[in-house]
Amino acid sequence: MARSYRIIGKSPPKVDGLAKCTGATKFADDLAFPRMLFCKLHRADVPHARIVRVDTSEAEAMPGVVAVLTGAELPTPFGILPVSEDEHALCLDRVRFVGDPVAAVAAVDEDTAFEAMRLVRVEYEPLPPVFDPAEAIANRTPPLHDYGDDGNVHKRVSMEFGDVAGALKKADLVLEDIFFFQGNTHLPMEQHAAVALPEADGRVTIWSSTQTPHYLHKAAAKVLGMPPSRLRVIACPNGGGFGGKSDPFNHEIVVAKLALKTNRPVKITLTREEVFYCHRGRHPVLMRSRMGLGKDGTIAGLHFESLLDGGAYGSYGVASTYYTGALQTVTYKVPVYRFDGVRCFTNKPPCGPKRGHGTPQPRFALEVQIDKAAEKLGIDPADFRLRNLQPPKSVTANWLQINTIGLRKCIEAVVEASGWRERRGKLGRGRGLGLACSSYITGAGLPIYWNKMPHSGVMVKLDRGGGVTAYCGATEIGQGSDTVLASCVAEILGVELLDVRICVADTDLTPVDLGSYSSRVTLMMGNAAIQAAERARDLVARAAAEKLEIPVTRLVFADNRVFDAEDPEGKGMSFAQAVVCAEAKHGTIATAGSYTPPQSPGRYRGAGVGPTPTYSYSACVTEIAADEETGGVAARKIWIAHDIGQAINRNLAIGQVEGGVYMGLGEALMEEMAYRPRRAGVHKIPSMLEYKSPTTMEMPEVETILIEEPDDRGPFGAKEVGQGPLLPVMPAVANALFDALGVRVDQIPITPELVLEALGREDRRAGPRAYPDLRAGKPVRILTPEEGGDGYEVEQERKEKQKRREQRAKA
């Protein structure tokens, strides 16, 4: 059962709420400095070409232009993952998609910068572009990069846990399905912006709408060739991120360079069209899933294949590839499992992490396939899932450590709330109910670059007046991290939220937090904050206990007081008085806490993607109305239960669930990145009107149920909520469509065209029908825990044993 707290689990207004409602919050583009210059980027208008020459003379000659920059001045490559540093601040000798930046202009005002940017002349030698992943992996066109697994194959993964072929052979039923999940983008309301301010002594500060100030700090220092100590990165509150501001970006490094070059502040604010080119959104993924089943509805084995269209650069793509094969095993028992994944390069804006990073696509495939399996076996889809649940505190076939799992309660809750048992199949033609579940990591178990340092750090400083300041590198992107930080500290110290001043996301002032990605902040920052606050509390407690002449163990911190649990009124003092005692006794009160995730049992190559301190779970039922005439699908109501462990702030948690459901619904029904392959691969719809996203008119009622069973690894028992609840929505909509019209659309988004196509086909199905040969070869074999494995590759183990034997022989 959940414990009762003063702040945790309640719904106080968030600490940055009023500032966001009065216009006081300063987003990156709201900053301005005297003598500030404006920057514009000249972007490629061809999809693939060698740069022969860049002529900036006309731009430079234009009155009002202060500096023009080309790639030659920033030749050092960068990229979020150390294994794919394939980007340049400005393209050096090659452009790889329409929108790739080639030159930058800094001018006295934005209009001048724009006009000058258009005067940059670039001479290109065209190269054949490739837009289709199946064509890309056939390697008939020149490779986009000179690294990767082969040609345009960026990453190839193939691993097998247990004897999958054998299990499928023995299974009573084998389903083979092909699915396609179209790419879509984050579409944050705020366009990316960055401002760089030089200091006279050569230092420079970058303010940016970034989710990952620490990674930007590393990348920018490297490309600028300056010691990180001279570069300061401050992440402004993000006007929405959803993963789209998690990479270090060209424009952030460019303004810093221009600021150093001109010795003036320089700002860039991307246009909405440019945000579509930055992208890093959901990978389009073609998937094939072969699932073996017993007659009783148990899963005998799974072979999952994915082909990711990566776009022009690496970004987080290697991790994305692994993620399309990692979490299939954490919801239902999959005794043996094989995964083959390929990510390829194409001449389109780079894909990366969007809310759910690499897992919504396979989750869609898995949950729709399970719906099909349940139907074939005559089992209720809810019962099918309940029968196959992965047990808590277990290790999966692919060596993922499960901690707590509240999925049973999630399923039961939405089944109950939606009237699933009574209403499913009985709503009449055109109306349907669909169920799907999901799981997501509460923070990646490993950092992006290999190191043994903490993933999050928090410092707490106490003021003599009773004020508390909490410092952390975490970035507020709307998810409520500022409030989580203040809440954890205030709860431990027994003060009110308003007594805690927070200082966040500043590489000079705050300890490192790796960033607002992978749903890691609440758990990691929260645990660090608790540790820092407890250390401060202990110092105060020792001094207060001495003063009150009672044992430390009897002290209570609550309601801005420190008092004797046995005599609350008689023996006590204000928190501020207690701080004065503590400072007199110990000196200045400032403490630090940090958090490093536990080690995962998986040791094989690729085992770094998927582990987490604990997984969150969700179950969702959607009710839809589908129109047989138009093919249009509308959501009527959505019930969702989310296993959050313990809500830090109930209202904020529900807001995250509702927002996730909203975004999932957009992906399910309308959102897609669309390109014109015959017109140089230009983006069809780089605007907010044509890139369809749900308005108030498409958003149905949502009933959110939080399942709260504290997880021993989370702060106060909390698990993630920012990403997981998005995942079950797309398959739940697809499954509801089957209930409504008896058709399967194995593709996202479920457009009216696809619904009509399915209605018109004999097999009542729309979606991809062929899967290219990935030439996966022989998979790396890893013994499962049940087979008595040790988490390493079988071959690796042999090699290592061999090495040990040789060493022994030498000795």
Binding site: R121, M189, N238, G480, G655, M688, L689
Partner: protein, 177 residues
Amino acid sequence: MTDKDPPTKAAPKAPRREAVRKATLALRVNGETQEVSFLPHKTLLEVLREDMGLTGTKHGCELGECGTCTVLVDGEPVLSCLALALEFAGREITTVEGLSGPRGPHPLQRRFAELNAAQCGYCTPGFLLAAKSLLDREAAPDRDTIRKELSGNLCRCTGYLKIYEAVELAAEDLRRG
């Protein structure tokens, strides 16, 4: 460039840089009249943000598609990214900064903050002003009316549900006075 240079893609000609003169105008914003000088092609959004320092008004699409830049002109919502500032002399303009008064935040602002109807907060000023215009006209709008009235504003964080609740509660507050 000489004739021998290989042909490059048709690049735009250097624009003629005629000295465009700034216009000077008295704009009435949030109850105060201020004289502002700005280039005549600037939008109301740009003048508010860049020339008057009122950065509470945001931009999302620059094309009148997202409602983020909504301000009130004589009580009516206007997309400031599509409006030429020159056309607003003497009109009563309200931005998010003008919603709060000496008595503190407007009930809409308080309720949005309380209910977490502002997650990232970027679209919030636009929603607040669109909602204010609605509540000025209708004291007790039902959920359906609120949905329709706010359908021109996009939000990517909340799924709109907390926004509806906040508007409903603020309407109650205002009715109670």
